[in-house]
């Protein structure tokens, strides 16, 4: 029996930017695997490299940035170095991405019907026949998608423009566009950060529902550990361009191994236990230029040793977990 293969495999990815101040290594040796049907959460703060990692996956990194090393395979196919033309047939069809700010991601001058149909007409092989026939088919599918994501009165709202919708609706429209061609992988970049919490719940439920229906894999990029805890099977925690911990969500959040993960969890107020004092992580994320080879969390970590000044690799610590730390420890909460 063959082992199931990941649908997306990022391996030792390096993405750099040439800026006025020097060479910035935004993504430094990131490896993440996503299995079919799985929901993987990628957690990180500013400067963690989470958005750049997935921009690299989508082939959206342009000058002054470039992919400097590593590999990204999707269903076994290597994406690094792929031509723009090949990427175009992949984007929107097999891999789709939604952005954080729906207002700027949607074209304000085109109706949403147009934007959903555009994806369908570009990619969908099932639409056949004359141009008019295809267009009608695309329109029907667009209405279907809008109903799927819960936009009321889709037939009339097809002709509305993005600004005529609320923030939550726009996010759903982006999801409708992303899912129109039934992609195998959805990358959702901070899908709920700009939304109110009640709308956030609706959007996340929607993604979970659709994921179940289509058997789709989802990558959820977020800074919100609560969202990860509730919706993701596995989680990768990123810091300063590297993955510093990964594993099944329950284990990573319940018993964090890396001091940063732990620090993050300690700095979030816990509604179930408000008397517990939050303990902020001192200091700030380091600049991504001229980084020393050792652990990047060193300036803010309260338990570092001399070994931390050397290059630290990801170590497997069992139960499907890995951590980039010389002192993996069980957290006794």
């Amino acid at each position: 029996m063959t082992e199931p293969q990941p649908i997306l495999s990022i391996s030792n990815l390096q993405t750099r930017f040439a800026t006025r101040y020097g060479l910035v290594t935004a993504v430094d040796g990131v490896s993440i695997d996503v299995m079919p049907g799985e929901c993987v959460g990628v957690v990180g703060e500013s400067g963690s490299g989470k958005s750049v990692t997935f921009a690299s996956v989508m082939g959206l990194v342009k000058k002054p940035g470039w992919i400097d090393g590593g590999s990204i395979t999707f269903e076994g196919r290597e994406l690094v170095g792929m031509s723009d033309r090949d990427y175009k047939s992949l984007r929107g069809k097999d891999i789709a991405m939604t952005m954080q700010d729906a207002l700027t991601a949607l074209n304000p001058a085109l109706t949403i019907g147009h934007q959903i149909m555009e994806v369908l007409l570009t990619h969908d092989d099932e639409l056949t026949g004359s141009a008019r026939h295809r267009k009608r088919g695309a329109r029907d599918r667009a209405i279907e998608m809008m109903m799927l994501v819960g936009i009321p009165s889709p037939e009339t709202r097809l002709n509305d423009y993005p600004h005529q919708f609320s923030g939550g609706m726009r996010q759903r429209i982006m999801i409708a566009i992303a899912l129109a061609c039934r992609p195998k992988l959805l990358i959702a970049d901070e899908p709920t950060t700009a939304l109110d919490v009640t709308i956030q719940a609706q959007v996340l439920e929607l993604i979970a529902e659709i994921r179940q229906k289509l058997g789709m894999s989802v990558i959820l990029i977020t800074h919100d550990l609560g969202v990860v805890a509730e919706y993701c099977d596995r989680v990768a925690v990123m810091y300063a361009g590297q993955v510093i911990e990964s594993g099944p969500t329950k284990l990573v959040i319940g018993h964090p191994s890396h001091p940063y993960t732990q620090g993050l969890l300690n700095s979030i107020p816990n509604l179930a236990n408000l008397d517990k004092r939050i303990r902020p992580i001192e200091g700030q994320v380091p600049e991504l230029i001229n980084l020393s080879p050792g652990c990047r969390f060193i300036g803010r970590c309260d338990v570092h040793e001399s070994a931390c000044a050397q290059q630290v690799e990801m170590q497997n610590i069992g139960q499907g977990r890995a951590v980039r730390c010389v002192l993996p420890r069980r957290n006794k909460q």
């Binding site: 101040y21 902020p280 001192e282 200091g283 700030q284 380091p286 600049e287 300036g299 803010r300």
Partner: protein, 297 residues
């Protein structure tokens, strides 16, 4: 709890010096700006640079060609006009008129425009309504014709030109400032100043104004070129500075009668106008780019 020292301040310079550095990265703009400085130098040091008295006539030198043409003389490099006056010297002294009027009109108009624009944009209400209506009315008159009409009423001459041009010109910076103020007054640092007890005057002058100067400077620079052309036009029509004072515009007018023969009489002052205006325009483009936030971090 103290801040970690790992944060590296990328640049320790003030916004002004940053803009200057960015401006200088464009070779074209720097060259153009140097040109402008040359003209200004010409204007300032005219008495020391000009080879001859610009008003000294010598009928023997009437319509003498430039030095490189047969019949010319190197001491009258660009030739002489219909009254035997040295064109080069007149151009150098003419720079004084053009630049002085350009600068004076712009400085006065911008000052008025800034005050009016700030008041209209920040105080709103009837202040805004009044000023905006005034602006609308003035804008509806065509510039040159309006200027001619006014000069006709109050007479020509240096002071009057400046007056007339300012009268129309202030609406340009006013509109720019008003628009910028309307936007700026909604930003939190303005609210913060109010929360601290800042008066309207403080907010307009100390909080908002420093932040909107960039577009005002760019617009004013562009307008200066415009004003210079207008002054030349008015002088060309005989409505500007009166003879014998040399203005490039009137010099071009003087040479009209000789266009086919002694072409140098009109051409060189015309070229002077062209180069100065071009240099100012390119410089203002450079300034606009230098102030553009896209080029910052």
């Amino acid at each position: 709890m103290s801040e970690s020292a790992t944060y590296v301040a990328i640049e320790k310079v003030s916004p002004l010096r940053r803009n200057l550095k960015i401006f200088m990265t464009s070779k074209l703009s720097t060259v153009a700006a140097s040109f402008v400085i040359v003209f200004v130098g010409m204007a300032l040091f005219a008495p020391w640079i000009a080879p001859h008295d610009p008003n000294e006539t010598d009928l023997f030198l009437r319509l003498q060609p430039p030095a490189w043409i047969e019949g010319g003389d190197i001491s009258y490099l660009l030739g002489c006009d219909g009254l035997g006056r040295d064109i080069l010297s007149r151009i150098i002294y003419g720079a004084r008129i053009s630049i002085f009027i350009g600068v004076a009109v712009i400085v006065v108009a911008t000052s008025i425009g800034i005050i009016a624009g700030l008041a209209a944009g920040y105080l709103r209400g009837w202040v805004d309504i009044t000023i905006s209506r005034l602006v609308d009315i003035l804008v509806s008159f065509p510039y040159l014709i309006f200027a001619i009409a006014l000069i006709g009423m109050i007479g020509a001459g240096l002071q009057n030109i400046i007056l007339v041009l300012v009268y129309k010109e202030w609406v340009v910076p006013c509109r720019v400032v008003r628009g910028e103020t309307l936007a700026a007054r909604e930003i939190e640092y303005v609210e913060a100043a109010r929360a601290l007890g800042g008066s309207s005057r403080h907010i307009m002058l100390r909080e908002i104004l420093p932040n909107i100067l960039s577009p005002v400077i760019v617009v004013s620079t562009i307008r200066m070129a415009h004003v210079i052309i207008l002054e030349a036009s008015l002088s060309f029509l005989g409505l500007g500075v009166q003879p014998p004072t040399a203005s490039w515009g009137s010099m071009v007018a003087d040479g009209r009668a000789f266009m086919l023969g002694a072409w140098w009489v009109s051409t060189f002052p015309g070229l002077a106008i062209l180069f100065l205006v071009l240099a100012i325009n390119v410089t203002s483009q450079g300034l606009r780019d230098a102030f553009d936030p896209k080029f910052h971090d």
